[in-house]
Protein backbone atom coordinates (compact mmCIF):
# COMPACT_ATOMS: atom_id res chain seq x y z
CA UNK A 1 0.00 0.00 0.00
CA UNK A 2 1.39 3.38 -0.96
CA UNK A 3 0.12 6.90 -0.50
CA UNK A 4 1.12 10.08 -2.25
CA UNK A 5 0.31 13.67 -1.35
CA UNK A 6 0.18 16.30 -4.06
CA UNK A 7 1.71 19.08 -2.03
CA UNK A 8 0.73 21.78 -4.49
CA UNK A 9 -2.93 20.92 -3.86
CA UNK A 10 -2.66 20.22 -0.12
CA UNK A 11 -4.17 23.00 2.02
CA UNK A 12 -2.65 21.80 5.28
CA UNK A 13 -5.95 20.94 6.97
CA UNK A 14 -4.27 18.30 9.13
CA UNK A 15 -7.06 15.84 8.42
CA UNK A 16 -4.78 13.06 7.19
CA UNK A 17 -2.29 13.60 10.01
CA UNK A 18 -5.12 13.21 12.51
CA UNK A 19 -6.32 10.01 10.87
CA UNK A 20 -2.87 8.42 10.67
CA UNK A 21 -0.08 10.33 12.43
CA UNK A 22 2.28 7.45 11.74
CA UNK A 23 1.71 7.72 7.98
CA UNK A 24 1.43 11.49 7.39
CA UNK A 25 3.19 14.55 8.85
CA UNK A 26 2.71 18.24 8.32
CA UNK A 27 5.92 19.91 7.25
CA UNK A 28 6.03 23.66 6.57
CA UNK A 29 2.28 23.61 6.66
CA UNK A 30 1.58 20.88 4.09
CA UNK A 31 1.37 17.10 4.42
CA UNK A 32 3.87 14.51 3.31
CA UNK A 33 3.97 10.75 3.65
CA UNK A 34 6.39 9.31 6.20
CA UNK A 35 8.70 6.83 4.49
CA UNK A 36 8.88 3.36 6.09
CA UNK A 37 11.69 3.30 8.61
CA UNK A 38 11.58 7.06 9.13
CA UNK A 39 11.16 8.00 12.82
CA UNK A 40 7.45 7.96 13.60
CA UNK A 41 6.48 5.92 10.58
CA UNK A 42 4.72 2.60 10.73
CA UNK A 43 7.14 -0.26 10.12
CA UNK A 44 4.78 -2.55 8.25
CA UNK A 45 3.14 -0.87 5.31
CA UNK A 46 1.08 -3.63 3.78
CA UNK A 47 -1.16 -4.48 6.70
CA UNK A 48 -4.91 -4.00 6.71
CA UNK A 49 -4.81 -1.10 9.11
CA UNK A 50 -2.58 0.85 6.76
CA UNK A 51 -4.88 0.18 3.85
CA UNK A 52 -7.91 1.30 5.88
CA UNK A 53 -6.12 4.45 7.08
CA UNK A 54 -4.96 5.40 3.61
CA UNK A 55 -8.44 4.88 2.25
CA UNK A 56 -9.95 7.01 4.99
CA UNK A 57 -7.40 9.76 4.38
CA UNK A 58 -8.05 9.71 0.63
CA UNK A 59 -11.78 10.04 1.23
CA UNK A 60 -11.50 12.67 3.95
CA UNK A 61 -9.02 15.06 2.35
CA UNK A 62 -11.04 18.19 1.58
CA UNK A 63 -9.16 18.87 -1.67
CA UNK A 64 -8.46 15.33 -2.97
CA UNK A 65 -4.71 15.79 -2.59
CA UNK A 66 -4.01 12.20 -1.52
CA UNK A 67 -3.75 9.25 -3.83
CA UNK A 68 -3.55 5.70 -2.59
CA UNK A 69 -2.29 2.74 -4.58
CA UNK A 70 -0.71 -0.69 -4.43
CA UNK A 71 2.92 -0.89 -3.35
Amino acid sequence: MTARVDRSRCVGSGTCTQIAPDLFVLEDGTARVLAPGEPGSRAVRDDDRTAADVEEAVESCPVQAIEGGPA
Binding site: G12, I19, S60
Partner: protein, 407 residues
Protein backbone atom coordinates in the same frame (compact mmCIF):
# COMPACT_ATOMS: atom_id res chain seq x y z
CA UNK B 1 -5.21 57.20 -2.80
CA UNK B 2 -6.10 59.15 0.31
CA UNK B 3 -6.23 57.87 3.85
CA UNK B 4 -10.02 58.09 3.78
CA UNK B 5 -10.18 55.66 0.90
CA UNK B 6 -8.19 53.15 2.90
CA UNK B 7 -11.20 52.79 5.14
CA UNK B 8 -12.55 49.35 4.25
CA UNK B 9 -15.96 50.51 5.46
CA UNK B 10 -16.26 53.50 3.14
CA UNK B 11 -19.14 53.03 0.69
CA UNK B 12 -16.69 52.89 -2.21
CA UNK B 13 -14.58 50.19 -0.53
CA UNK B 14 -17.63 48.14 0.46
CA UNK B 15 -18.76 48.18 -3.17
CA UNK B 16 -15.28 47.43 -4.49
CA UNK B 17 -12.74 46.34 -1.88
CA UNK B 18 -10.41 45.18 -4.64
CA UNK B 19 -9.22 48.69 -5.47
CA UNK B 20 -8.20 49.19 -1.83
CA UNK B 21 -6.58 45.77 -1.67
CA UNK B 22 -4.66 46.29 -4.93
CA UNK B 23 -3.34 49.58 -3.63
CA UNK B 24 -2.29 48.15 -0.26
CA UNK B 25 -0.70 45.08 -1.82
CA UNK B 26 1.40 47.28 -4.12
CA UNK B 27 2.41 49.94 -1.65
CA UNK B 28 2.21 48.62 1.91
CA UNK B 29 1.48 44.89 1.95
CA UNK B 30 1.71 44.59 5.73
CA UNK B 31 -0.14 47.74 6.67
CA UNK B 32 -0.85 49.10 10.16
CA UNK B 33 -4.36 50.53 10.27
CA UNK B 34 -4.73 53.03 13.12
CA UNK B 35 -8.48 53.02 12.54
CA UNK B 36 -8.86 49.30 13.25
CA UNK B 37 -5.78 49.10 15.46
CA UNK B 38 -4.85 46.09 13.37
CA UNK B 39 -2.44 44.91 10.74
CA UNK B 40 -3.87 44.39 7.27
CA UNK B 41 -2.02 41.69 5.31
CA UNK B 42 -2.67 41.59 1.57
CA UNK B 43 -0.06 39.49 -0.31
CA UNK B 44 -0.73 35.81 -1.08
CA UNK B 45 2.67 34.76 0.26
CA UNK B 46 2.18 36.58 3.57
CA UNK B 47 -1.44 35.50 4.04
CA UNK B 48 -0.68 31.85 3.43
CA UNK B 49 2.49 32.00 5.55
CA UNK B 50 0.50 33.50 8.44
CA UNK B 51 -2.26 30.91 8.10
CA UNK B 52 0.23 28.08 8.60
CA UNK B 53 2.11 29.77 11.45
CA UNK B 54 1.03 28.94 15.03
CA UNK B 55 2.40 32.28 16.26
CA UNK B 56 -0.59 33.87 14.53
CA UNK B 57 -3.04 32.71 17.17
CA UNK B 58 -6.74 32.03 16.65
CA UNK B 59 -7.44 32.51 20.34
CA UNK B 60 -8.64 36.06 20.01
CA UNK B 61 -11.72 35.85 22.12
CA UNK B 62 -10.51 34.91 25.59
CA UNK B 63 -8.57 38.20 26.01
CA UNK B 64 -11.79 40.03 25.13
CA UNK B 65 -13.86 37.93 27.51
CA UNK B 66 -11.30 38.42 30.29
CA UNK B 67 -11.12 42.17 29.76
CA UNK B 68 -14.75 43.05 29.12
CA UNK B 69 -16.89 40.35 30.60
CA UNK B 70 -15.35 39.11 33.81
CA UNK B 71 -15.88 42.22 35.95
CA UNK B 72 -18.71 42.40 38.50
CA UNK B 73 -20.78 44.77 36.34
CA UNK B 74 -20.42 42.86 33.08
CA UNK B 75 -23.78 42.39 31.36
CA UNK B 76 -24.89 38.81 32.18
CA UNK B 77 -26.68 38.24 28.85
CA UNK B 78 -23.58 39.29 27.00
CA UNK B 79 -21.43 37.07 29.19
CA UNK B 80 -23.64 34.07 28.45
CA UNK B 81 -23.52 34.90 24.78
CA UNK B 82 -19.77 34.97 24.73
CA UNK B 83 -19.67 31.72 26.68
CA UNK B 84 -21.23 30.14 23.59
CA UNK B 85 -18.59 31.68 21.31
CA UNK B 86 -15.77 30.68 23.63
CA UNK B 87 -16.26 26.99 22.78
CA UNK B 88 -15.92 27.56 19.03
CA UNK B 89 -13.01 25.71 17.44
CA UNK B 90 -12.43 28.66 15.16
CA UNK B 91 -11.24 30.64 18.23
CA UNK B 92 -8.91 27.93 19.51
CA UNK B 93 -5.32 26.88 19.04
CA UNK B 94 -3.97 23.32 19.35
CA UNK B 95 -4.42 21.18 21.40
CA UNK B 96 -7.97 22.40 22.20
CA UNK B 97 -8.58 23.05 18.53
CA UNK B 98 -7.32 19.60 17.50
CA UNK B 99 -9.64 17.93 19.98
CA UNK B 100 -12.79 19.69 18.74
CA UNK B 101 -11.91 19.29 15.10
CA UNK B 102 -11.21 15.56 15.49
CA UNK B 103 -14.61 15.05 17.06
CA UNK B 104 -16.30 16.70 14.06
CA UNK B 105 -14.12 15.37 11.31
CA UNK B 106 -16.23 12.48 10.08
CA UNK B 107 -19.42 14.53 9.73
CA UNK B 108 -17.93 16.77 7.05
CA UNK B 109 -15.90 14.54 4.78
CA UNK B 110 -16.61 14.87 1.07
CA UNK B 111 -18.21 11.43 1.23
CA UNK B 112 -20.58 12.00 4.16
CA UNK B 113 -21.61 15.31 2.65
CA UNK B 114 -22.29 13.77 -0.78
CA UNK B 115 -25.16 11.82 0.78
CA UNK B 116 -26.99 15.13 1.26
CA UNK B 117 -27.08 15.97 -2.43
CA UNK B 118 -30.62 14.72 -3.13
CA UNK B 119 -31.99 16.82 -0.28
CA UNK B 120 -30.13 19.92 -1.40
CA UNK B 121 -31.54 19.39 -4.88
CA UNK B 122 -35.08 18.94 -3.57
CA UNK B 123 -34.88 22.08 -1.42
CA UNK B 124 -33.45 24.05 -4.33
CA UNK B 125 -36.27 22.84 -6.63
CA UNK B 126 -38.90 23.75 -4.07
CA UNK B 127 -37.62 27.32 -3.80
CA UNK B 128 -37.30 27.72 -7.57
CA UNK B 129 -40.82 26.34 -8.09
CA UNK B 130 -42.08 29.08 -5.82
CA UNK B 131 -40.53 31.92 -7.86
CA UNK B 132 -40.38 30.48 -11.39
CA UNK B 133 -43.70 31.96 -12.52
CA UNK B 134 -42.94 35.45 -11.29
CA UNK B 135 -40.36 36.40 -13.90
CA UNK B 136 -38.36 38.34 -11.36
CA UNK B 137 -36.94 37.78 -7.90
CA UNK B 138 -34.19 38.61 -5.47
CA UNK B 139 -32.13 35.43 -5.71
CA UNK B 140 -30.31 36.12 -2.46
CA UNK B 141 -33.39 36.77 -0.32
CA UNK B 142 -35.74 34.26 -1.88
CA UNK B 143 -33.30 31.53 -2.90
CA UNK B 144 -29.71 31.43 -1.63
CA UNK B 145 -30.45 32.55 1.93
CA UNK B 146 -33.43 30.27 2.64
CA UNK B 147 -31.79 27.36 0.81
CA UNK B 148 -28.58 27.41 2.84
CA UNK B 149 -30.53 27.93 6.08
CA UNK B 150 -32.76 24.96 5.30
CA UNK B 151 -29.78 22.73 4.46
CA UNK B 152 -27.95 23.37 7.71
CA UNK B 153 -31.18 23.28 9.76
CA UNK B 154 -32.15 19.96 8.22
CA UNK B 155 -28.65 18.62 8.74
CA UNK B 156 -28.80 19.54 12.42
CA UNK B 157 -32.18 17.85 12.75
CA UNK B 158 -34.39 20.94 13.08
CA UNK B 159 -37.99 20.04 12.15
CA UNK B 160 -39.33 21.85 9.06
CA UNK B 161 -41.90 23.71 11.15
CA UNK B 162 -39.10 25.50 13.05
CA UNK B 163 -37.10 26.60 9.99
CA UNK B 164 -38.20 30.21 10.09
CA UNK B 165 -37.31 30.57 13.75
CA UNK B 166 -33.93 29.23 12.83
CA UNK B 167 -33.45 31.74 10.04
CA UNK B 168 -34.19 34.61 12.44
CA UNK B 169 -31.63 33.34 14.91
CA UNK B 170 -29.07 33.10 12.14
CA UNK B 171 -29.57 36.82 11.50
CA UNK B 172 -28.96 37.46 15.20
CA UNK B 173 -25.66 35.66 15.34
CA UNK B 174 -24.45 37.39 12.20
CA UNK B 175 -25.26 40.75 13.73
CA UNK B 176 -23.36 39.76 16.84
CA UNK B 177 -20.27 38.30 15.27
CA UNK B 178 -19.88 40.45 12.19
CA UNK B 179 -18.33 43.76 13.02
CA UNK B 180 -21.14 45.89 11.60
CA UNK B 181 -22.80 46.32 14.97
CA UNK B 182 -25.07 49.34 14.93
CA UNK B 183 -26.82 50.45 18.07
CA UNK B 184 -26.75 48.91 21.56
CA UNK B 185 -30.40 47.83 21.10
CA UNK B 186 -29.37 45.87 18.05
CA UNK B 187 -26.66 44.24 20.06
CA UNK B 188 -29.13 43.25 22.75
CA UNK B 189 -31.59 41.84 20.27
CA UNK B 190 -28.77 39.85 18.74
CA UNK B 191 -27.73 38.54 22.15
CA UNK B 192 -31.34 37.53 22.88
CA UNK B 193 -31.55 35.66 19.60
CA UNK B 194 -28.35 33.83 20.37
CA UNK B 195 -29.65 32.73 23.78
CA UNK B 196 -32.92 31.51 22.25
CA UNK B 197 -30.96 29.50 19.72
CA UNK B 198 -28.77 28.11 22.50
CA UNK B 199 -31.83 26.92 24.42
CA UNK B 200 -33.40 25.47 21.30
CA UNK B 201 -30.26 23.51 20.44
CA UNK B 202 -30.04 22.41 24.07
CA UNK B 203 -33.49 20.81 23.69
CA UNK B 204 -32.48 19.19 20.42
CA UNK B 205 -29.34 17.80 22.07
CA UNK B 206 -31.34 16.37 24.97
CA UNK B 207 -33.74 14.74 22.60
CA UNK B 208 -30.84 13.37 20.57
CA UNK B 209 -29.29 11.91 23.72
CA UNK B 210 -32.49 10.04 24.57
CA UNK B 211 -33.44 9.11 21.05
CA UNK B 212 -30.63 9.60 18.54
CA UNK B 213 -31.49 10.00 14.86
CA UNK B 214 -29.22 10.27 11.84
CA UNK B 215 -28.92 14.06 12.12
CA UNK B 216 -25.83 16.07 12.95
CA UNK B 217 -26.84 16.97 16.52
CA UNK B 218 -27.18 13.24 17.23
CA UNK B 219 -23.78 12.69 15.62
CA UNK B 220 -22.27 15.41 17.81
CA UNK B 221 -23.83 13.94 20.94
CA UNK B 222 -22.45 10.54 20.03
CA UNK B 223 -19.07 11.66 18.67
CA UNK B 224 -16.25 9.76 20.36
CA UNK B 225 -12.50 9.93 20.08
CA UNK B 226 -11.04 7.28 22.36
CA UNK B 227 -12.60 8.24 25.70
CA UNK B 228 -13.29 11.79 24.69
CA UNK B 229 -16.64 13.28 23.72
CA UNK B 230 -18.27 16.69 23.43
CA UNK B 231 -19.93 18.09 26.55
CA UNK B 232 -23.56 19.19 26.36
CA UNK B 233 -22.43 22.85 26.16
CA UNK B 234 -19.93 22.02 23.43
CA UNK B 235 -22.62 20.32 21.37
CA UNK B 236 -24.73 23.47 21.61
CA UNK B 237 -21.84 25.82 20.82
CA UNK B 238 -20.84 23.71 17.87
CA UNK B 239 -24.40 23.74 16.53
CA UNK B 240 -24.39 27.55 16.74
CA UNK B 241 -20.98 27.66 15.03
CA UNK B 242 -22.13 25.46 12.16
CA UNK B 243 -25.16 27.64 11.55
CA UNK B 244 -23.10 30.79 11.73
CA UNK B 245 -20.13 29.54 9.69
CA UNK B 246 -22.21 27.77 7.09
CA UNK B 247 -25.23 29.93 6.39
CA UNK B 248 -24.26 33.42 5.35
CA UNK B 249 -20.95 32.34 3.79
CA UNK B 250 -22.61 29.81 1.49
CA UNK B 251 -25.38 32.28 0.67
CA UNK B 252 -22.69 34.68 -0.45
CA UNK B 253 -20.85 32.09 -2.52
CA UNK B 254 -24.08 31.38 -4.41
CA UNK B 255 -24.96 35.08 -4.73
CA UNK B 256 -21.48 36.27 -5.72
CA UNK B 257 -21.04 33.32 -8.08
CA UNK B 258 -24.34 33.99 -9.87
CA UNK B 259 -23.51 37.68 -10.12
CA UNK B 260 -20.10 36.88 -11.63
CA UNK B 261 -21.79 34.69 -14.25
CA UNK B 262 -24.45 37.28 -15.07
CA UNK B 263 -21.74 39.89 -15.54
CA UNK B 264 -19.58 37.62 -17.74
CA UNK B 265 -21.76 36.07 -20.48
CA UNK B 266 -18.76 34.45 -22.17
CA UNK B 267 -17.89 32.56 -18.96
CA UNK B 268 -21.51 31.65 -18.38
CA UNK B 269 -21.60 30.15 -21.88
CA UNK B 270 -18.60 27.96 -21.03
CA UNK B 271 -20.46 26.59 -18.02
CA UNK B 272 -23.80 26.17 -19.78
CA UNK B 273 -22.27 24.37 -22.73
CA UNK B 274 -20.50 21.97 -20.40
CA UNK B 275 -17.05 23.06 -21.57
CA UNK B 276 -16.21 23.85 -17.95
CA UNK B 277 -17.51 21.75 -15.06
CA UNK B 278 -19.17 23.29 -12.03
CA UNK B 279 -16.29 22.12 -9.78
CA UNK B 280 -13.55 24.33 -11.23
CA UNK B 281 -16.11 27.12 -11.72
CA UNK B 282 -16.81 27.19 -7.99
CA UNK B 283 -13.09 27.37 -7.20
CA UNK B 284 -12.89 30.37 -9.51
CA UNK B 285 -15.90 32.04 -7.83
CA UNK B 286 -14.10 31.57 -4.51
CA UNK B 287 -11.00 33.17 -5.95
CA UNK B 288 -12.59 35.94 -7.98
CA UNK B 289 -15.14 37.20 -5.45
CA UNK B 290 -15.23 34.86 -2.47
CA UNK B 291 -17.31 35.34 0.69
CA UNK B 292 -14.50 35.53 3.27
CA UNK B 293 -13.17 39.11 3.28
CA UNK B 294 -10.93 38.87 6.32
CA UNK B 295 -9.64 36.13 8.60
CA UNK B 296 -8.57 37.40 12.01
CA UNK B 297 -5.56 36.40 14.08
CA UNK B 298 -3.87 37.73 17.19
CA UNK B 299 -0.11 37.68 17.61
CA UNK B 300 1.05 35.25 20.30
CA UNK B 301 4.62 36.63 20.17
CA UNK B 302 6.49 39.26 18.14
CA UNK B 303 6.92 38.15 14.52
CA UNK B 304 8.49 39.84 11.53
CA UNK B 305 6.38 39.74 8.38
CA UNK B 306 7.04 41.63 5.16
CA UNK B 307 9.58 43.91 6.84
CA UNK B 308 7.26 44.87 9.72
CA UNK B 309 7.35 43.70 13.31
CA UNK B 310 3.97 42.47 14.48
CA UNK B 311 3.94 42.70 18.27
CA UNK B 312 2.53 40.15 20.69
CA UNK B 313 -1.12 40.93 21.37
CA UNK B 314 -1.71 42.88 18.17
CA UNK B 315 -4.58 41.97 15.90
CA UNK B 316 -4.10 40.95 12.29
CA UNK B 317 -6.58 40.93 9.41
CA UNK B 318 -5.51 38.45 6.75
CA UNK B 319 -7.34 39.25 3.52
CA UNK B 320 -8.15 36.27 1.25
CA UNK B 321 -9.75 38.39 -1.51
CA UNK B 322 -6.51 40.31 -1.82
CA UNK B 323 -4.32 37.20 -1.74
CA UNK B 324 -6.61 35.69 -4.36
CA UNK B 325 -5.91 38.53 -6.76
CA UNK B 326 -2.18 38.71 -6.17
CA UNK B 327 -0.48 38.99 -9.58
CA UNK B 328 2.54 37.18 -8.13
CA UNK B 329 0.40 34.02 -8.04
CA UNK B 330 -2.46 34.46 -10.53
CA UNK B 331 -2.20 35.53 -14.16
CA UNK B 332 -4.78 38.21 -15.06
CA UNK B 333 -5.96 38.22 -11.44
CA UNK B 334 -8.84 40.64 -12.00
CA UNK B 335 -10.43 38.45 -14.68
CA UNK B 336 -13.01 35.78 -14.08
CA UNK B 337 -11.57 32.75 -15.89
CA UNK B 338 -13.39 29.49 -15.25
CA UNK B 339 -10.76 27.59 -17.23
CA UNK B 340 -7.89 28.25 -14.78
CA UNK B 341 -6.03 25.03 -14.05
CA UNK B 342 -3.95 25.92 -11.03
CA UNK B 343 -6.08 27.79 -8.55
CA UNK B 344 -4.39 27.96 -5.13
CA UNK B 345 -6.90 30.43 -3.71
CA UNK B 346 -7.27 30.88 0.03
CA UNK B 347 -11.02 31.48 -0.08
CA UNK B 348 -11.57 28.69 2.47
CA UNK B 349 -8.47 29.68 4.44
CA UNK B 350 -5.43 27.44 4.75
CA UNK B 351 -3.86 25.26 7.44
CA UNK B 352 -5.39 23.70 10.53
CA UNK B 353 -8.47 25.95 10.45
CA UNK B 354 -9.12 25.31 6.75
CA UNK B 355 -12.89 25.49 6.39
CA UNK B 356 -14.39 22.37 7.91
CA UNK B 357 -17.55 22.87 5.87
CA UNK B 358 -15.80 23.29 2.51
CA UNK B 359 -17.17 20.01 1.09
CA UNK B 360 -20.71 21.05 2.07
CA UNK B 361 -20.33 24.58 0.67
CA UNK B 362 -19.00 23.15 -2.60
CA UNK B 363 -21.91 20.74 -2.80
CA UNK B 364 -24.54 23.40 -2.07
CA UNK B 365 -23.17 25.90 -4.57
CA UNK B 366 -22.59 23.11 -7.08
CA UNK B 367 -26.30 22.25 -6.97
CA UNK B 368 -27.73 25.74 -6.46
CA UNK B 369 -25.97 27.67 -9.22
CA UNK B 370 -26.61 25.30 -12.16
CA UNK B 371 -30.22 24.82 -10.99
CA UNK B 372 -30.87 28.54 -11.39
CA UNK B 373 -29.40 28.61 -14.89
CA UNK B 374 -31.47 25.56 -15.86
CA UNK B 375 -34.75 26.68 -14.45
CA UNK B 376 -34.88 30.40 -15.18
CA UNK B 377 -34.55 30.94 -18.95
CA UNK B 378 -33.11 34.20 -20.23
CA UNK B 379 -31.88 35.11 -16.77
CA UNK B 380 -30.37 38.59 -16.45
CA UNK B 381 -29.72 41.22 -13.81
CA UNK B 382 -32.73 43.44 -13.29
CA UNK B 383 -31.65 46.58 -15.17
CA UNK B 384 -33.79 48.78 -12.92
CA UNK B 385 -32.21 47.62 -9.68
CA UNK B 386 -28.97 48.67 -8.08
CA UNK B 387 -26.63 46.22 -6.39
CA UNK B 388 -25.43 46.86 -2.88
CA UNK B 389 -23.03 45.03 -0.62
CA UNK B 390 -23.28 44.35 3.11
CA UNK B 391 -21.07 46.84 4.98
CA UNK B 392 -19.19 44.31 7.10
CA UNK B 393 -15.53 43.60 7.49
CA UNK B 394 -15.55 39.82 7.74
CA UNK B 395 -17.57 38.93 4.71
CA UNK B 396 -18.30 39.96 1.16
CA UNK B 397 -21.92 39.52 0.18
CA UNK B 398 -24.74 41.18 -1.73
CA UNK B 399 -27.72 42.57 0.17
CA UNK B 400 -29.81 41.26 -2.74
CA UNK B 401 -29.50 39.91 -6.28
CA UNK B 402 -32.42 41.33 -8.28
CA UNK B 403 -32.89 39.42 -11.53
CA UNK B 404 -35.54 38.81 -14.18
CA UNK B 405 -36.18 36.06 -16.74
CA UNK B 406 -38.76 34.87 -19.28
CA UNK B 407 -41.59 33.22 -17.41
Amino acid sequence: MTAVELDLFSPAAVADPYAVFDHLRDTDPVHWSPRYRSWIVTRHADVSAALRDARFSSDRISPFVDAKLSGPDADPALRQTFAVLADWMVFKDPPDHTRLRRLLRTAFTPRSVAALEPRVRALSDELLDAVAGAGRADLVGSYAYPLTAAVIAEMLGVPAADRDLFKGWSDSISALVFAGLGTPERYERAADGMLELRDYLGDLAERATRDPGDDLVSALVQARDDDDSLSHDEVISTGVLLLFAGHETTTNLIGNGLLALLQHPDQRALLESGEVGIGPAIEEFLRYDGPAKTVVRQMAVDVELGGQVLRAGQRVFLCPPSANRDPAVFARPGELDLTRRENPHVGFGFGLHYCLGAPLARLEAGVAIPAVLDRLPGLELDPAAELSWAPVLLSRGLTGLPVRWRS
